[in-house]
Amino acid sequence: MRRACLFALLAVLCLAQRVRDDYRAAYSAWRQTDPNLEREASAGGAPVAQRADRMAAEAAKSAAARKAFLEGTMLDQSQQIAWLESAAIGAEPAAADTRSDSQFIATEAARVTRTMETFASDPDKGIQQLRQALAREKTALEAVGQAVAERQKSADAADVAAAAIGQGRVKALEQSRAMLQGLKDAAAQTAREAEAWAEYYRKLGEGAQGTATPITQAPAGVPPAMLSNPAPAPPSVTPVPLARYIGAWTYPQTNGMFHGPQPEFIDVLVYEDNGRATGTVFGRFKLPPGSTGDPVLRFDFSGNFQPTRNQVFDLVTSDGTKGTIELIPGPAFNLLEVNFQTEPKPGKIRQADVVLVKK
């Protein structure tokens, strides 16, 4: 049940990625409150001390908003770590092991064969009927044996995958915990910086006018500042809304559209920051039978959004191969066509064209 709850939480957290807007707005408000304070501090007197006091209050609000962001992100990260910790694969049941079946089939097949050989040259009609019955039984046993062997291959594949998951989990946990520790450090650093800013404005006020009034600090638990007159979102450089490109996209499990290699799954993440796109593509393709190529493809891409409908960015795969990716808004708002090509490399997927749906 704990795993299921964590899964539900993960689903929510994936959709609810933390955004930095609040603390950025608070930071911006702080910085715009009195940009000339230091330049005009030499004038001294009570007005400078009051201005420093007001800046201290804005700095505290900015720090509180950033702390809230970092704590939220830490919470998300903790949930992901909790899932990784709980996602161990349990042992497969003994019932899935086909050794007992194979042993039984081998024993019975040998017994039937011996009996058939015993009557091999017997002309008796009844015995011949018995031989035919034994032959049918042997054929049925062989058919069962083939089915059992096939299932064992899949059981072996499940075991191999479980082992890989076990090893991968440990390594992923190590990295994820490092990320969490990084967030904790950043939160602690934010608190230290907040104290330092309070000290700075206090000293600035004192330096300007003997003793300054106490610096206001946002007490713990005070919610971050909210803009009462938020600025409208900046205009997008692209002719269609950025939402047509950014976000999490996936290949539908049924009726997926593609040209070139057929995807088994593809997940694409596209982010935007100040007009710049960054993203990742991770997918696996169905290879022709007998192919020994690598079905998995993973690459990052980045570049600036352009004032065109189709966006083309440079990509670099996990093994360093370069290429380009084109993002084409689909006929519906939740569809995105992704077309990419890479330099040819033996055994690697080098191009694909798929239509993805927004998660």
Partner: protein, 238 residues
């Protein structure tokens, strides 16, 4: 601030409801049931031939013994199918969850680049403050204390940027590890789904085998009861 709060709540409720329909413990129970049924069949199957060997070919107990093993086989295959079906469903959930962790971690790892950029921008802004304050210090030396603190803040922000750079460098490693993990979960899901599908074929073949085994028992009986106008069997059946 969380984006799409209402949507998230809906998803959470839906996922929780789904989780309640498939309690985790049921997998353990299904595994135990499958193991027990397999052990039951194994014992009966291994004991069948010695048991029949002591009976006359037309003894109804012989047919009943074969039918009993056949039934035990069906029971154990059904139990295994139930387990595999549930395990494959769980594996699918795991794959989706791993994908979500990958997406979230990729975003988080990418966030360290933003942290570094912001620290650089903040550092530049502080440098400008320091320059302005030093200019003011020419007229008012008492601002020196504030300038020292500001220089310390600049150092702290630079350190923050440096740490962010270190963590941003882990992005590729994290993405690769979690990507491999997704592949692992996907492979396991595929293998379990395949096993489930193959078990269907296997069940039909076990059924055909036991039908053939019963047919052989019937043939042995008919030879005894009606030698077909021919001489009775001259050799004892093994």
């Amino acid at each position: 601030m969380i984006r799409s709060v209402s949507l998230c709540v809906l998803v959470a409720v839906a996922q929780s409801a789904s989780a309640q329909e498939k309690p985790v413990d049921s997998i353990t129970a299904l595994r135990q049931t499958a193991d027990k049924a397999a052990a039951d069949w194994d014992a009966l199957a291994k004991g069948l031939e010695p048991r029949i060997a002591r009976l006359l070919p037309c003894d109804p107990s012989a047919r009943a013994a074969v039918e009993e093993v056949s039934h035990a086989s069906e029971v154990r295959l059904s139990a295994l199918a139930a387990y595999l079906k549930a395990a494959a469903a769980r594996a699918k959930d795991d794959t989706e969850a791993a994908k979500q962790v990958l997406a979230a971690q990729a975003a988080l790892a990418g966030g360290w680049n933003t942290e570094r950029t912001e620290a650089d921008q903040q550092g530049a802004a502080i440098e400008a403050q320091v320059a302005d304050l030093k200019e003011s210090m020419r007229k008012r030396a008492t601002l020196a204390g504030a300038e020292q603190v500001l220089a310390e803040i600049a150092r702290m922000v630079k350190e923050r940027g440096s740490k962010s750079t270190d963590l941003a460098a882990r992005k590729d490693v994290v993405n690769a590890l979690l990507g491999d993990l997704v592949v692992g979960y996907q492979d396991r899901q595929t293998a379990l789904e395949k096993q489930f599908a193959q078990l269907d074929v296997e069940s039909a073949r076990w059924s055909a085998y036991y039908t053939a085994r019963l047919a052989r028992a019937a043939t042995e009986c008919s030879i005894i009861n009606n030698p077909g106008g021919n001489a009775p069997p001259r050799k004892k059946l093994p």
